[in-house]
């Protein structure tokens, strides 16, 4: 028998999932579900939208309104869902490749519009489903099947990208600091505007093996040792920051929300007609 949380929010007949042993995606998926459970949001008021990739399989396992869409286009579909029914809590589950390469434009424009969506990016630094090609978040110098001598591409910092494009809530969590990840997802859902959460996941099968990062446990230990809370990060010297990354809530700001603006336009035009 699975736990109460899993029984309540997962399509248990589809479990066990297909993710590899030690893959962090299951941990992030549970954190999303726990965040929804903590907020007591009825299942029918939630819509999970995902793209294509290992991470995006999550939509199939979850028992909410779910939409498994095309590669990179989860945010475009989610924008449509949200505009059609602004009362829904629309949560987008996407991967690093899905959101920043194929769907890179959708990401920056959803952030620019500040539409009330919560985007959780499962960042495992590689394209897992298709066999380990490098993605825009593969660290420079790291190996992948398409970069056998190490990638020469500079990697994206997705949180900086989302913040610069206009997201009103930006946070980063890891599959080690799960309680914190749960908390930032919760805050992201409550934020009225575009919320962007980067969840650093582990891919022991491709990214780990290609780069000799060891087992799933070794990769989790790496996240434990190198993820620094943002408050502590700001006090660190540039030298100490090398090899480490900030986690927790990184940015938040106030901006007009898109669906509200859209409704205001509809209302004003309706008045003109009468």
């Amino acid at each position: 028998m699975p736990s109460e949380l899993v029984t309540n929010y997962f399509r248990t007949e589809t479990l066990p999932h297909i993710w590899c042993p030690g893959c962090g995606n299951g941990i992030v998926t549970r954190a999303i579900v726990k965040a929804i459970d903590n907020l007591n949001i009825p299942k029918d008021d939630v819509c999970i939208v995902s793209g294509i990739g290992c991470s995006s399989r999550a939509a199939g396992y979850l028992d909410f309104n779910t939409l498994h869409t095309t590669h990179g286009r989860a945010l475009a579909f989610a924008t449509g869902v949200k505009l059609a029914n602004p009362k829904l809590h629309v949560i987008v589950i996407t991967g690093d490749g899905d959101s920043s390469a194929i769907g890179g434009n959708h990401l920056i424009h959803a952030a620019r519009r500040n539409i009330d969506l919560t985007t959780v990016v499962f960042n495992n630094s590689i394209y897992g489903m298709t066999g380990g090609q490098y993605s825009p978040t593969t660290p420079t110098g790291d190996k992948a099947t398409t970069a056998p001598y190490g990638s020469i591409d500079p990697n994206f910092d997705l949180c900086e990208l989302a913040n610069a494009a206009g997201a009103t809530y930006v946070a980063r969590g890891t599959v080690y600091a799960v309680n914190m990840l749960e908390k930032v997802i919760q805050e992201g859902i409550l934020n009225k505007g575009f919320s962007f959460i980067e969840a650093i996941s582990t891919c022991p099968t491709y990214y780990g093996r290609k780069n000799k990062k060891g087992s799933a446990v070794d990769m989790i230990q790496y996240l434990k040792e190198n993820g620094v809370m943002y408050s502590a990060w700001n006090k660190m010297s540039e030298e100490d920051k090398i090899g480490k990354f900030p986690i927790g809530k990184l940015y938040s700001k106030e901006r007009k929300e898109y669906t509200e603006q859209y409704q205001r336009l509809i209302d004003s035009l309706g008045k003109e007609r009468n």
């Binding site: 028998m1 699975p2 736990s3 109460e4 949380l5 899993v6 997962f10 479990l15 066990p16 999932h17 993710w19 590899c20 042993p21 030690g22 893959c23 962090g24 995606n25 299951g26 941990i27 549970r30 954190a31 599959v175 080690y176 799960v178 309680n179 022991p204 087992s215 799933a216 446990v217 989790i220 230990q221």
Partner: protein, 67 residues
């Protein structure tokens, strides 16, 4: 918060893939992996912190409220 005494540690070994993450995150060395499946070794030492449940990618271990 639920009363911790009334919780018990459960496993669902059919879903366990033996990654060992629960063994790593457990602060009291309660768990082990044997034949690629999780085993509860020292249930008496368990402080019911729930870290194994939070970190299990396969939902194969959890704390259950006793009824």
């Amino acid at each position: 918060m639920p009363v911790k005494e009334k919780q018990s540690l459960k496993t669902n070994t059919n879903w366990c893939k033996g990654c060992g993450i629960c063994v790593f995150v457990c602060p009291k060395q309660v768990l082990a992996v044997e034949d690629e499946k999780v085993v509860i070794k020292n249930v008496d030492k368990c402080i019911k912190c729930g870290q194994c449940e939070y970190h299990c990618p396969d939902y194969a271990i959890y704390l259950e409220e006793e009824k």
